[in-house]
């Protein structure tokens, strides 16, 4: 298997330190790709319960609401064990959803790009391309499938 297809943060669901590093990985990658500083307040889905306990499930691993563009993203990181059982799985899938947010005490419905992936260098690269295309209005529901090429392990 090439380095591009090596699973990254393989133990992220078993080890909390790995999980936290994994979240940091996404923050850094997204900040670099979008040339944005992402604050905690820019993350609409915290993925912790109200007592601050993290779900540690990668569902989502990262979310971001860009107030200037009025668009959001959600990244879900899948359990890498699944591709051992199902090696023909699509490594990255995506869809467009609507996220309800409270902004300045008003409820707004925000278009949200959701990307679900098995984390590898090549899926990270594709994810970041899609996120950039989403915020620059190049990606939409009519061309989404063309971004999701049939990328499988085997």
């Amino acid at each position: 298997m090439s380095d591009e297809r090596k699973i990254l943060f393989e133990q992220f669901l078993e080890n909390k330190n790995t999980y936290n590093l994994n979240v940091g990985y996404w923050r850094k990658k997204l900040q670099t790709a979008l040339v944005e500083t992402i604050q905690k307040s820019d993350q609409p889905i915290i993925n912790k319960n109200e007592k601050g306990k993290n779900f540690y499930d990668g569902n989502p691993i990262f979310s971001f609401y860009n107030q200037k563009k009025n668009k959001a993203i959600r990244i879900i990181q899948e359990d890498p064990k699944e591709i051992l059982t199902y090696p023909n799985m699509l490594l990255l899938d995506a869809w467009i959803d609507k996220l309800t947010l409270t902004v300045k005490k008003e409820e707004v419905i925000v278009p949200e790009l959701v990307i679900s992936l098995f984390l590898m260098q090549n899926t990270t690269k594709k994810c970041l391309q899609m996120v950039n295309a989403w915020f620059s209005n190049d990606l939409n529901s009519s061309n989404l499938e063309s971004y999701i090429s049939e990328d499988r392990l085997n």
């Binding site: 609409p44 889905i45 915290i46 912790k48 319960n49 109200e50 569902n59 989502p60 959600r74 879900i76 899948e78 699944e82 059982t85 199902y86 799985m89 699509l90 899938d93 995506a94 869809w95 959803d97 996220l99 309800t100 947010l101 959701v114 679900s116």
Partner: protein, 104 residues
């Protein structure tokens, strides 16, 4: 209504949902009833690729803490080996949901 959310079966041209919007928090038993209603909306073929996803959604509701979840929360569940966009979504949009039936 201060307590709102929905369960959704999505993907592969399916968009079916069961929502709640109520003054009181949504307790576990009525949440499971909504999941049953969502299941009943699905054709055999639609259910075949979401049956385990629905079980996972049910487990998420049942495993919620006694006082439920009081936050904006979105969880996506799939059958293993199925394309990830073919899914069941659990969304708490506002207020509290999945508390035990005996909670106020």
């Amino acid at each position: 209504m201060n307590n709102r959310g929905r369960f959704q079966a999505q993907g592969d041209n399916v968009e079916k949902s069961e929502a709640w919007a109520q003054a009181d928090s949504l307790k576990k038993t009525p949440a499971n009833s909504l999941l049953n209603s969502l299941t009943a909306q699905l054709t055999h073929r639609e259910l075949e690729v979401r049956d385990i996803a629905l079980q996972k959604a049910r487990a998420f509701v049942d495993d919620a803490p006694t006082e439920g979840y009081n936050l904006v929360l979105i969880k996506k569940f799939n059958n293993p080996g199925v394309r990830k966009s073919i899914r069941v979504d659990v969304e708490i949009r506002n207020g509290c949901a999945f508390c035990n039936d005996d909670q106020a």
